[in-house]
């Protein structure tokens, strides 16, 4: 019985060892290509993750709210009627999601949904002594909201506590108002019967990662916000977090079609960011493809030369009874071996580059600019593609070798 590729392996490795300098040079070439592709992939992945973490650190993946108020025509125009009216858009006011208590368990049951948090959002003013700051009022249930944005991990002072009369405020807002944990501030919304609440006690300060948010955010219990905004028992938004952030838009579109609400994915709310990320991904893809093409051409050129150099040996092997398939596999294996060895060295080089980046590219605080990690799956993927490229690069030379006329090759 034919032992699997024993003959081809032996001849392929000997051919590679025989042309040692050529082999070493092309393996270095493949390693350099793999290192560049792996490093860039890890860098861009880290950069994008960092950007997304910062962006989505303070917002839900999908937000559900009531549809915007629209001006309805008093009478539907008759068919064929030309309407020459200019309609002023209505000013939007805080409105509660109808029947939101029933919608929450419905959303929680959807596949891929990890958390749903009801929220009351409104605008207001924070007052302390002479200081007045405009604020974004956020009323939440602490446990649920924590699962949406990881609030506890973002606290810079105080404890995550949101009892009646408590409030968690942004770090910059606290600085602007001159308050610390335990101090009290007044909040006014300027509307509703509970327009002013006295003695909101600051239990914690939060850093949401975006200065503008830190300057304006005041997080209060849901009931407090309902009173301040004038929506007793109501909520303005349902925040949804997903396992896979990239499925947000699809889910939003699906929900918008099925439910009578306005549903917005984070991509829609951050369209320019998504465009930038896409452009980055495309650029990375182009770089990866170009590098891989260079790797393929490098391996192919070396193997083409090898076929010419080894014509006589190929002729001998064919005369001795090596089949065309065996000769083909000898050269395909050479491509695979060069690709695989280059991949292993390239991945090691990439790890070294990432280590150097983490050590040398530091921010003002002395910490790495952002975290780059090389996931084993990415390393395996790049190495697998490079090895496959090695095999593909060998196809043309291998076919040429297999088709050599043994009688002519021996006469060379």
């Amino acid at each position: 019985m034919q032992h699997s590729l024993g003959f081809e392996r032996r001849v392929a490795t000997r051919f590679l060892r025989e042309g040692r300098m050529q082999t070493v040079l092309i393996i270095i070439g493949v390693a350099a290509g793999v290192a560049v592709v792996t490093y860039i992939s890890a860098l861009i992945t880290g950069l994008q993750k960092n950007t997304l973490d910062k962006t989505l650190g303070a917002q839900a993946h999908v937000t559900l709210s009531e549809r915007d108020d629209a001006v309805l025509p008093a009478l539907a125009p008759a068919p064929g009627t030309l309407v020459l009216a200019q309609t002023q858009a209505r000013a939007q006011r805080p409105r509660s999601i109808a029947n939101w208590q029933a919608v929450v368990p419905l959303l929680e049951a959807l596949p891929g949904v990890t958390a749903v948090s009801p929220m009351v959002a409104g605008a207001g003013l924070a007052l302390r002594g002479e200081a007045t700051q405009s604020i974004a009022l956020v009323g939440v249930e602490l446990e649920r909201y924590d699962r949406i944005i990881g609030l506890r991990s973002k606290l810079t002072a105080g404890a995550a506590q949101l009892g009646p009369g408590d409030g968690i405020i942004g770090r910059e807002l606290a600085a602007n108002l001159g308050v610390r944990v335990g101090d009290r501030i007044a909040i006014t919304t300027g509307s509703g019967p509970a327009a002013v609440t006295d003695g909101l006690r600051v239990t914690a300060l939060v850093d949401l990662g975006v200065r503008e948010l830190n300057r304006r955010t005041v997080i209060v219990p849901l009931r407090t916000a309902q009173s301040l905004v004038g929506l007793p028992g109501g909520v303005t938004n349902l925040d949804i977090t997903l396992d896979d952030i990239w499925s947000a838009q699809a889910l939003a579109t699906d929900l918008a079609a099925r439910l009578p609400y306005k549903v917005e994915g984070w991509q829609e709310a951050n369209a320019s960011l998504v465009s930038a990320l896409n452009a980055q991904s495309i650029s990375t893809g182009v770089i990866r493809a170009v590098v891989m093409v260079v790797v393929v051409l490098g391996i192919a050129s070396v193997l083409v030369v090898s076929v010419v150099q080894k014509r006589r040996e190929i002729g001998i092997l064919r005369a001795m009874g090596a089949t065309q398939g065996q000769v083909l596999r000898i050269f395909l294996l050479q491509g695979a071996i060069v690709g695989a060895l280059g991949s292993v060295i390239g991945v090691v080089l990439a790890v070294a580059l990432i280590w150097a980046f983490s050590r040398l590219a530091l921010g003002a605080d002395g910490l790495p600019l952002f975290l780059i990690t090389l996931h084993p799956a990415l390393a395996l993927q790049v190495a697998g593609v490079a090895t496959l490229c090695g095999v593909l690069a060998a196809v043309a030379p291998a076919r040429r070798a297999a088709r050599l006329d043994p009688a002519q090759a021996i006469r060379m």
């Binding site: 019985m1 034919q2 032992h3 699997s4 590729l5 024993g6 003959f7 032996r10 001849v11 000997r14 051919f15 060892r17 025989e18 006589r312 040996e313 002729g315 001998i316 092997l317 064919r318 005369a319 001795m320 009874g321 090596a322 089949t323 065309q324 398939g325 065996q326 006329d405 043994p406 009688a407 021996i410």
Partner: protein, 250 residues
Amino acid sequence: MPAHKAPDTPLLELGEISKSYNLDLPNEAEVLHSLSLRIARGEFVALIGPSGSGKSTLLNIIGLLERATAGSYRIGGEETRELNDAALTLLRRATLGFVFQFHHLLPAFTALENVTLPALMREGRVTPAQRERALAMLHSVGLQDATAKRPGELSGGMQQRVAIARALVLEPPLVLADEPTGNLDTQSANEVFDVMRRMHAELKVSFLIVTHDPRLAARCDRVIELIDGRIARDAPVPTSTPDEAKHAAP
């Protein structure tokens, strides 16, 4: 000239073989003309003739490295004309051993590895028994001390003896040798030829040897002479003492 009578069960049989190059082109050239030939098992045959007489072409056709333009070629009773390249390759592997003028060993392999190559090619591995067999073959050709050496470290005669061991290691029915001594000095040529005769006697393998050297042809059992692509002579060599044959005039 009457053809030499071969035994009734020929190892190979060529019937009306013709070979043309540049077929249907203005410069078409027929190098073999309706040539018929039989070689029996165990024969030791010399193929001689001047340069350009078609010896190498005939050897390539017999070695299944080229196809005849017309005629039939049976090897071991099997007609080869209709076989595809893959089948021809497998038949070549099973039936034929080759010894070339320029040794044609694989330079990256040691002498022993070159000799075990046919087994490796056939089965994908070399069993201990096959390795022992290869060592015994190298011993038979007097190279027991050179098994680990690469071809570049061996003399021309030694390389040719390795090539003979390689051609014979799987004991094919027929060994084809194209000017096996053509690139060697007289002493090495005699040594190599002696090895072939001895292996022929031991293994009963047929040999077809292309040679320019009439002294070596005279030491074969049968001589086929090709002139202008036709068999001009096919006759047994008169029995003579080895010493007479060795010193026969060129």
